[in-house]
């Protein structure tokens, strides 16, 4: 199975830059999903709260990593309004598990898989002459 797009390393321009508030860059960035997972543990909780509630994480995951499923999961996490250490733990768990699944299978176990279609051919019975 080919490697998922979400596992590739991005250019500096497309990396995620962690801020603590408007215009205040904390000096941490992530240019891949793997790096992003590590940074969730490193950056200040204030930064995670700032970006989660602005919708920055889900936007970056959808636009730069091109993974709409993970973006949706992050959006769902946001709607449960976690804060503080709970937010860090849950975000880390969500993204690290998703990333591990992608590495193993090329797609997340929880991702939507289009069912294989089967073609049924109708065979007309031979007509018999009376």
């Amino acid at each position: 199975m080919s490697e998922s797009k979400a596992l590739r390393t991005l250019s500096r321009e497309k990396a995620f830059y962690f801020f603590t508030s408007i215009g205040n860059y904390a000096g941490e960035s992530a240019a891949s999903l793997e790096e992003f997972v590590k940074k969730i543990l490193d950056v200040k909780i204030k930064s995670l709260e700032f970006h989660l509630y602005r919708g920055d994480f889900e936007r970056w995951v959808a636009d730069a990593l091109e993974d709409n499923i993970l973006a949706k999961k992050i959006r769902e996490l946001k709607s449960s309004k976690p804060i503080g250490i709970d937010l860090r733990d849950r975000l880390y768990l969500l993204v690290s598990k998703y990333s591990e699944d992608l590495k193993k299978t090329g797609s997340s176990s929880t991702s939507f898989v289009k069912p294989r279609t089967t073609t049924v051919t109708f065979v007309r019975p031979k007509e018999t002459t009376p």
Binding site: R12, E13, A15, Y17, F19, I22, G23, N24, Y25, A26, G27, S29
Partner: protein, 170 residues
Amino acid sequence: MKNLKAFLSQAIDLKAKDGGVVLDDLDKAILRALQKNARQSYTEIGRSLNLAHSTIYDRIKKMENHGVIRRYTIMVEPKKAGLKLLTAVMTVVTEPKESERVAEQLADHPDVSEVYTSLSEELSIIAKVVAEDQESLHAFISNVVAPLPGVLRIRTAIITRKHKEENMSI
């Protein structure tokens, strides 16, 4: 003017000193008059200083030629002109070897109006940025400034009120 004769008797050539020029009291008086209103005619300035307009013309031309007067410009009131309203002062901490390049790249950007290099505890660049609102300010810093190689951290202060904005006093 009290020392008028003394002014006129002085040679009006500006002397180079440490790469700069020496301005006498008359030059400074002309500069002050122009800072108040750069659209004044030589005659009007001459009248206010009790001098012939040709004297004013010579002095101004010499100051222009020596780069003392860099340009004539206007001060726009952004609010009344419906222009970008938000101004912020951004301090960008950089790796020393990349500092010059970061400063140049910031200076090239149309939304950056002033750029300075400062050496305090760390080498940093101070820049004045204008933006339509907080979101566009953040987008500029996040998409343009933070990705520049050598940028370590950025602190931004949004200006909420202007108490004074004047040219340097002469």
